[in-house]
């Protein structure tokens, strides 16, 4: 997980043997770009938060609803800008990190589409079918070897979850036209 091994500024030699968990070779270009991208998103969020806070009406109280969002918006902007600057400074020295697998971008896009389709189809087609579909889509995108077997696993998992959670525990899950 990311938070277990955040990249450090480059400290060659010493880190590798002293802290064997963080085997990541210092800074890679993608990590720097991602951190800069996060900074850019924070700047965008800062604008949204400040604009949203500015339209809140004045109230008679000593501290109104905008009292906290405004400083939070300003801080978002400051820290976001700092991340962008830091990323720009590090970009020159960053090396290449672990390579991504082939079709990395399309795979993530496919997963996002599968999740959106899941969200929209769940109330229409019922829990078992949509969940089995989500499982198959995720597993195939992650590199499952056999479609037929994956479909069988997905169907079985979805059916068990439905039986346990809907019938046994009473969490009402959406049912399709066929009742499951």
């Amino acid at each position: 997980m990311t938070d277990t091994r955040p990249p450090d500024p480059p400290e060659p030699a010493a880190t590798a043997e002293a802290e064997p968990v963080r085997t990541e070779p210092a800074l890679d270009r993608r990590s720097v770009l991602a951190s800069g991208g996060f900074g850019a998103l924070m700047l965008l969020a800062a604008v949204l938060v400040i604009v949203d806070a500015a339209r809140l009406p004045e109230t008679s109280e000593a501290v109104g609803p905008a009292a906290v969002p405004l400083p939070v918006g300003v801080l978002l902007g400051v820290v976001g800008a700092a991340l962008l600057v830091q990323a720009r400074l590090h970009l020159g020295t960053a090396g290449t990190g672990t390579p991504w697998q082939s079709g990395a971008g399309p795979r993530v896009l496919g997963m996002v589409l599968a999740l959106v389709a899941f969200a929209l189809l769940l109330p229409v087609l019922g829990y078992v079918l949509t969940t089995a579909g989500l499982f198959v889509a995720a597993a195939m995108l992650l590199g499952a070897p056999s479609l037929a077997r994956t479909a069988a696993y997905g169907w079985a998992l979805a059916a068990i979850v439905f039986l346990v959670f809907d019938r046994l525990i009473g969490l009402s899950l959406p049912t399709g036209p066929w009742g499951f």
């Binding site: 955040p6 993608r30 939070v72 993530v108 597993a139």
Partner: protein, 501 residues
């Protein structure tokens, strides 16, 4: 011995055949989910929380305690056998634990982790029993200014200690606070950051945020890098320890507990700090320095005990002040609220019996875990051989189920997906996600207290430093900030990484 009597009553309420069954189910599912790679205790608890929603409060609490301890133990199994820590607090366990497993001593490593966790959690629970009521008494004197200062301490320490870079920790914290702003302002009824979307009026459920930032980002990350080939260390014999293992382990357990509980019970973040300190201590005190780095059993026993003792310690500020200081504690706070418990100074007086049932449940979950896990270690190890695509596809199924149970609309699922992408960006950029979770839950609480304080003083900010306690706490905030800026500079000058080496 007042709290002792109350604890006994708690046990009486918790030890019924039905409750014990729920505890057993909780421990089993908690371990099974927690053992999966990349799933730490916070995520285990968030994913399995919906299961407990339909139960009676007592049954839900006891099952929840089982899930919590099961998730903690499952995490150390993964750390030892797979070299993949589920969260930063079990990172140190991989150092020696995985080396032991590679040397064919996986069974001893698992056994010392399980027994050490048991010892630490037992002592921790007893300490909690006696420490919590006086702390709660003390906390009843806190007014809004004290709460604001306490939360400032938590904010700064969480962002400074849960990652390597203060800037990135702050970025994560601020994003969490911003998500916490979404929804209707409870004091004036004004919608904030809603942008006309009705489902956002109630805010974004913390369970959804935790699942997105931890689980979806993990699955997305594997789509980018591939699932890779991880080597699971085989576990051939039953989890047992030799006499010399035991003799080397027990002092480490006690030292780890002594470090973990006090540090965990501070109202400041940083669950992994005691594990680092324990590792450093064991390395300094050991009679077998040559084994460190190659699988020294003390290096597993101490940090594991410290981790579990700290987890019990974290419950002190959580229960008595309502202050969560780790991602797991933030999820636990949400769970308690859904069971009708409102953590804070009034908790022990208002819902006394339920709290003592909870503490007794924690203890029972702990015993149950030991009874179940030493014999079943092989079964858990086998779970690790499920192919990665199956694990992460299954994680997605449970992630969407948990989201649906917490929110129940298509918009919640879209939010899950969007936050998952945000989590992926954070993961790639080396930005820790735990501060965001703490910020999300503490942000609204801090805002409420701040506005209450300023309403009392009619807008005069000097009320925030009006008592000795607040001044001490603000000095602590300043010191933590200075330390987190200065420490990397010092470390760089000495060219030697501080704690671990």
């Amino acid at each position: 011995m007042d709290s002792f009597g109350l604890l006994l009553d708690g046990f009486a309420a918790a030890v019924t055949p039905e409750h014990l069954l729920w505890a057993l189910i909780g421990v089993t599912i908690g371990t099974a989910v927690g053992v999966l790679p990349g799933i730490g205790p916070a995520l285990t608890v968030a994913l399995l929380l919906p299961i407990t929603f339909r139960l009676e409060p007592e049954s839900a609490l006891i099952m929840f305690a089982g899930i919590y301890y099961g998730g903690m133990y499952g995490g150390s199994t993964t750390a030892i056998l797979l070299n993949t820590p589920g969260e930063s607090a079990s990172m140190i366990t991989t150092l020696e634990g995985n080396k032991m497993a590679r040397a064919g001593r996986a069974a001893a490593a698992l056994a010392t982790a399980a027994l050490g966790s048991f010892v630490a959690a037992t002592i921790g629970t007893v300490a909690l029993t006696f420490l919590a009521p006086p702390v709660a008494d003390f906390a009843t004197s806190f007014g809004p200014p004290e709460y604001v200062a306490l939360m400032a301490v938590a904010f700064v320490t969480v962002s400074a200690l849960l990652g390597r870079s203060l800037l990135k920790g702050l970025a994560s914290l601020l994003v969490g606070i911003t998500i916490g702003l979404i929804g209707i302002d409870t004091q004036t009824g004004q919608p904030r950051l809603v942008f006309g979307i009705d489902s956002l009026l109630d805010g974004v459920d913390i369970v959804i945020v935790v699942i997105a930032l931890f689980a979806l980002s993990e699955a997305f990350g594997h789509l980018l890098t591939g699932t890779g080939h991880t080597t699971v260390q085989p576990l051939r014999e039953r989890a047992v320890m030799s006499k010399s293992d035991f003799q080397r382990s027990w002092p480490a357990w006690l030292r780890g507990t002594a470090l973990g509980f006090p540090i965990g019970s501070l109202p400041a973040g940083g669950a992994e700090v005691p594990t680092f300190l324990s590792y450093a201590t064991e390395k300094r005190l050991t009679k077998h320095p040559e084994e460190f780095g190659h699988g020294a059993i003390e290096g597993v026993a101490g940090p594991e005990a410290a981790n579990n003792a700290a987890a019990a310690g974290v419950l002190v500020p959580l229960l008595t002040i309502g202050l969560p200081t780790s991602a797991t504690a933030a999820v636990i706070l949400t769970a308690f609220q859904s069971y009708g418990l409102q953590p804070g100074p009034a908790l022990f007086t208002e819902s006394g019996p339920l709290v003592w049932t909870l503490i007794a449940s924690l203890y029972i979950g702990n015993v149950m875990l030991l009874v179940l896990n030493l014999p079943l270690a092989k079964v858990w190890a086998r779970l690790l051989t499920i192919p990665a695509y199956g694990i992460y596809a299954g994680v997605l199924v449970f992630a969407t189920l948990g989201t649906f149970a917490a929110g129940g609309t298509a918009v919640d699922l879209i939010i899950l997906c969007g936050l998952g992408l945000l989590g992926l960006l954070m993961r790639l950029g080396g930005i820790p996600v735990a501060p965001a979770v703490v910020g999300l839950i503490l942000g609204p609480l801090a805002e409420e207290q701040l506005r209450r304080a300023l309403t009392l003083s009619e807008g005069d900010p000097s009320i925030l430093v009006s008592s000795t306690i607040t001044i001490v706490l603000w000095i602590a905030v300043a010191l933590a900030l200075i330390a987190s800026v200065a420490a990397p500079l010092v470390r760089r000058r000495r060219r030697v990484p501080s704690e671990v080496s």
